[in-house]
């Protein structure tokens, strides 16, 4: 067994774990969540633990601080921190380190802060406990810490309750808490997953800066390969509780030696990639961890599997210092880098490719004109209602939120329009407005030439056939009380498309379209995996042979390997059926991968719109530029440091004067941004940017992804 990565950086490792195993007793036997994991972190180094859901990566993090419940059984061959053996007696020693020499930052800042205690007090607690500070000393130190993590008004924030802070602020406060006692090791469990991409970038910058300043060692747990690459020196790839590959991040990402690592990288959509490229998803699903296979745990999903994989795979050191659990590692590492293979271009690449996209109604399948939606908060008696969202609670005039503010958009037949923006920008509302799930407050929407804005329920029915929707959450988008067959069949019956045996046959056909076997018709949603559920959602949407489907974050809840398969499926369906999509996502990579045209939304309005290639290259709207800069992309690590960063966070709410992006804009010109509605400039036909900056200035911005796409 080779020395784990990190030791070659010299000196004794800060943390050295060998053969870590965590088991849960279940009704069906022991579930081995972590199986013989070994890793080490040298002082000042950052180790990333990456894996998909169910890989056991968070369990590893929790084990370090002994935060697993009593029902978890933990054992290890070696477990030392700063040379101190933590195994005997296990719990007491590790508990003593908590918050003091090892600190932890949790995934969801919203739930990791106690809602009943002021933020400052929560940060002060470990200071008082471990540093023996008085209340006053601690309070002063809290302010320093808050300032250090980049919080502008530390005193106010210290006195605030968690709900009064934005997600990014909360995560900064949690980092400040972790930093308080000057720990040697900081464990971060998906610290940016719950945050928007621009905030994520801020937090990652902050971590980078703090790490250098405090000589911190970091254990960083994430599912996001891009984030891991940005933050970590070393990486540890976890699959089904086992470390399948570990080594220096640069090596692992450049030339993955384990088929799983390779599969992960191949599944990643990249903002820089071309439309029509194909992802390489990993087939199959995670094995049952209560009865793990005798041989290689990845064998049944592995494209390189062959006879020799029936043996148990032990970690094996490669010549470059990596450790891999695969006997074919060298051969795999030597293979071509896992970029996307270009799909054979279908005969007709879709109408979107032809002709310049325009705003003319001619041929537009979906025509959205100056549509707006104002939500009233509270009910009919809102004046007598308490409004939990804050502010002065007694409202005689119900508070309003302008979620969508005069958006115009065209989707042409067979075209994929990507709608991107951060949470709260109104993109989902817009999707629902188009399908009339929400009544628009103003503006006009036409589907296939039918004005649906004021249409009655009856008049809407034929249009409903044309336009369907696929939702984000596979767990909630299927009625758990109906079989898959019933779910897919229902629209057929509702629109009188097919009945009886005919419908039965049609269901099988639809399931086939989304690559599900006919026997799935008998199953219930809870028997399906997330990816399968999402396929069923798509099949249901396809049942009425729609011309247009709204995909509302349809892949966001899926693991990257599953997402890749769904994205491929969507691309195929578009090509085969000529369906148009409105692809709503916060993930620029997904949008870039699939969309013909992209609309970037900010605070209820589209700030930039145009063909994908043009939106992803200068001239950018400053917000688009910031978004692109923020996205962590594997293989573009160096880009990060020099890129624009947004201040603060998106604030939703009332009417806007001037440019809606003015308060966060890194390229703000002056007062004009606050007072005047920005003009729309059109650097190329069909590419529109709403900004006060002169077009020349916008053109002068260097491309975020460099001159050429990284893998192209």
């Amino acid at each position: 067994m080779s020395a784990p990565a990190g030791q070659d950086q010299g000196g004794a490792p800060l943390l050295d774990v060998h053969g870590l195993t965590v088991e849960y007793a279940t009704g069906r036997g022991n579930l081995r969540a972590v199986d013989g994991a070994s890793f080490a972190i040298a002082p000042g180094r950052a180790l990333g633990i990456v894996g998909e859901s169910g890989s056991g990566k968070s369990t590893v993090a929790m084990t370090l601080l002994d935060l697993l419940g009593p029902e978890a059984g933990m054992s290890a061959e070696r477990f030392t921190f700063e040379g101190e053996d933590l195994l005997d007696p296990v719990a007491a020693r590790r508990k003593a380190l908590r918050g003091h020499r090892i600190a932890m930052v949790f995934q969801d800042p919203g739930s990791a802060l106690n809602p009943a205690i002021q933020v400052g007090r929560q940060i002060a607690e470990p200071l008082i406990r471990h540093r023996g500070m008085t209340q006053t000393q601690a309070a002063a130190r809290v302010q320093e810490l808050l300032a250090e993590v980049g919080i502008p008004r530390p005193a106010d924030v210290a006195a605030a309750y968690p709900h009064q802070l934005s997600g990014g602020m909360k995560q900064r406060a949690l980092i400040a808490t972790a930093l308080g006692c000057e720990p040697r090791l900081m464990v971060l469990d998906e610290p940016t997953t719950a945050l928007d991409v621009t905030i994520e970038a801020q937090i990652l910058d902050l971590l980078e800066q703090l790490r250098g300043k405090h000589d911190l060692s970091i254990l960083f747990v994430s599912h996001n390969l891009g984030v891991i690459e940005r933050v970590c020196d070393d990486v540890c790839v976890l699959y089904a509780g086992r470390v399948v590959e570990q080594g220096a991040a640069a090596q692992v990402f450049a030339a993955p030696a384990h088929p799983y690592t390779r599969g992960l990288l191949g599944s990643l959509p990249r903002p820089s990639a071309q439309r029509l490229s194909r992802l390489t998803p990993i087939p199959g699903r995670l094995p049952d961890l209560t009865r793990a296979p005798a041989g290689c745990i990845f064998a049944e999903r592995c494209e390189h599997a062959e006879a020799g994989c029936g043996k148990p795979q032990e970690p094996r050191a490669l010549a470059d210092g990596r450790t891999v659990r695969c006997w074919k590692a060298e051969a795999i590492a030597a293979g071509a880098p896992p970029t996307q293979a270009m799909a054979e271009a279908p005969p007709d690449a879709g109408p979107a490719a032809a002709g310049a996209p325009g705003t003319t109604d001619a041929g537009a399948l979906i025509a959205v004109d100056a549509v707006g939606k104002t939500f009233r908060l509270g009910g009919m008696l809102a004046g007598l209602r308490f409004d939990f969202s804050g502010g002065f609670p007694l409202r005689t005039d119900p508070p309003k939120v302008r979620a969508v503010d005069g958006v115009s958009l065209r989707v042409r037949p067979g075209e994929v329009v990507g709608l991107v923006g951060e949470s709260g920008c109104g993109k989902s509302t817009l999707g629902r407005l188009i399908l009339r799930l929400i009544e628009p407050s103003d503006g006009r929407i036409a589907i296939d030439g039918h004005d649906v804005t004021g249409a009655s329920v009856a008049a809407l029915r034929p249009v409903r056939r044309l336009a369907q929707m696929v939702f984000q959450n596979p767990d909630s988008s299927l009625n758990p009380r109906q079989t898959i067959g019933q779910i897919v069949r229902r629209p057929l019956e509702l629109f009188g498309i097919a009945r009886g045996a005919e419908a039965q046959a049609k269901v099988v056909e639809l399931l086939g379209m989304v690559r599900l076997a006919p026997e799935y018709a008998q199953r219930y949603p809870h028997q399906l995996s997330g990816g399968e559920k999402q396929r069923v959602s798509i099949a249901r949407a396809l049942a009425t042979s729609p011309k247009f489907i709204v995909l509302d974050e349809a892949t966001s809840a899926l693991d990257v390997s599953v997402q890749a398969a769904i994205l491929n499926l969507l691309a195929d369906l578009r090509d085969r059926l000529g369906v148009a999509y409105l692809l709503i996502s916060h993930d620029l990579s997904v949008i870039a991968h699939l969309a013909d045209r992209v609309a970037v939304m900010y605070r209820g309005a589209v700030v930039e719109e145009g063909p994908s290639a043009q939106v992803l290259a200068p001239p950018y709207h400053p917000y688009t530029e910031a978004l692109l800069s923020a996205v962590p992309v594997v293989g573009l690590k160096d880009r990060a440091a020099q890129r624009v960063r947004l201040k603060g966070a998106l604030i939703g709410g009332g009417a806007v004067r001037g440019c809606r992006f003015a308060d966060r804009c890194p390229r703000r010109i002056g007062p004009i941004c606050d007072t005047e509605t920005p003009p729309v400039v059109e650097p190329a036909p069909g590419h529109r940017i709403a900004c006060h900056l002169p077009l020349e200035a916008l053109r002068a911005v260097p491309p975020v992804f460099g001159a050429a796409a990284p893998h192209a």
Partner: protein, 301 residues
């Protein structure tokens, strides 16, 4: 709740994999212990109540003056009351009354409360305001007061007590089914149904209702307990079934006359009532464990 491993905090997609599916199947096979014990108790009492006319050793209202106020014996296992009536037979027949009041009242509250709650959640707006404000008023009267008031207007009987108790719990059912339905309305499969243009009736009864049942059933089992308690308290106060009925609340009320000489008259129905309520509570907890999605999630690996 405990026992099963706490899932490592991961994305929601983690569930619903092979483990999740297998767990679901497993769960259906092994019922919680409370459910088994409680079900046995309630089942036995229901069976006794149904069979009482045939298996009760005596008629519930037959006098036997010479043998009055006799303690438990081979002839009268639970003794006899002031008229020489057999307490065991009365308790057995009375079980039917308590059960029918508890379940009847709950059924009434379900029959009114659930549709109201679902409608409030589905239609929102004015309908919701009208329903919920009415409910606010009803719920601000302490249950027993509402019962006393309803029964003050008319002469008491089994049916009226059942109705009164049922009405008392309508607001709770309405609130519960509304909040459940509101949660479900956010669920994407409802949105999907609306997106394909499904009608209100379909959505209410095919999409909403089947999914709203679990929490409603759990709450109902709790309501049955409270309904039996309240109904028997009302009949204890004389506002329930009338003599010579052997309703347990009434029996206990009548037995108070003879507590010193013949405590068994009160003990029979009193202990029966406690056992029944414990049984229903156990069933309720068992159902909660099986049906409550929150507990389920916690239990699923």
């Amino acid at each position: 709740m405990s026992g099963a491993p706490a899932s490592p905090p991961t994305s929601p997609a983690a569930n619903g994999t092979a483990n999740g599916a297998a767990n679901g199947a497993l769960r259906r096979r092994r019922l919680p212990r409370q459910l088994v014990i409680g079900g046995t108790i309630v089942g036995a009492i229901v069976l006794l109540a149904i069979l009482a006319p045939w298996i009760a050793p005596y008629s519930y209202d037959a006098f036997d003056i010479p043998n009055r106020l006799k303690g438990p014996s081979a002839a009268n296992w639970l003794g006899t009351d002031e008229f020489g009536r057999d307490v065991l037979s009365r308790v057995m027949v009375g079980a039917g009354l308590s059960l029918s009041m508890g379940f009847g009242a709950t059924a009434i509250s379900l029959a009114f409360g659930v549709p109201l709650g679902l409608m409030a959640a589905y239609f929102r707006g004015l309908a919701e305001e009208a329903i919920m404000r009415t409910i606010d008023v009803l719920i601000s009267v302490p249950p027993i007061m509402l019962g006393l008031l309803v029964l003050a207007v008319s002469d008491p009987s089994l049916w009226k007590t059942m109705l009164a108790v049922g009405i008392i719990y309508v607001p709770i059912m309405t609130r519960l089914s509304r909040s459940v339905a509101l949660g479900l309305m956010e669920e994407e499969f409802i949105q999907a149904a609306r997106a394909r243009g499904a009608g209100a009736r379909w959505i209410l009864f095919h999409e909403l209702l089947p999914n709203a049942w679990p929490p409603i059933i759990v709450e109902s089992s709790l309501r049955v307990t409270f309904a039996i308690l309240l109904a028997s308290a009302l009949s204890f106060l004389g506002l329930g079934p009338q003599p010579p009925s052997s309703d347990w609340g009434l029996m206990i009320a009548e037995a108070r006359q003879f507590l010193d000489d013949a405590p068994w008259i009160a003990m029979g129905p009193g202990i029966a009532l406690c056992v029944l309520l414990i049984g229903i509570n156990l069933v309720g907890d068992g159902l909660r464990e099986v049906l409550d999605p929150r507990l389920k999630k916690r239990g699923a690996a």
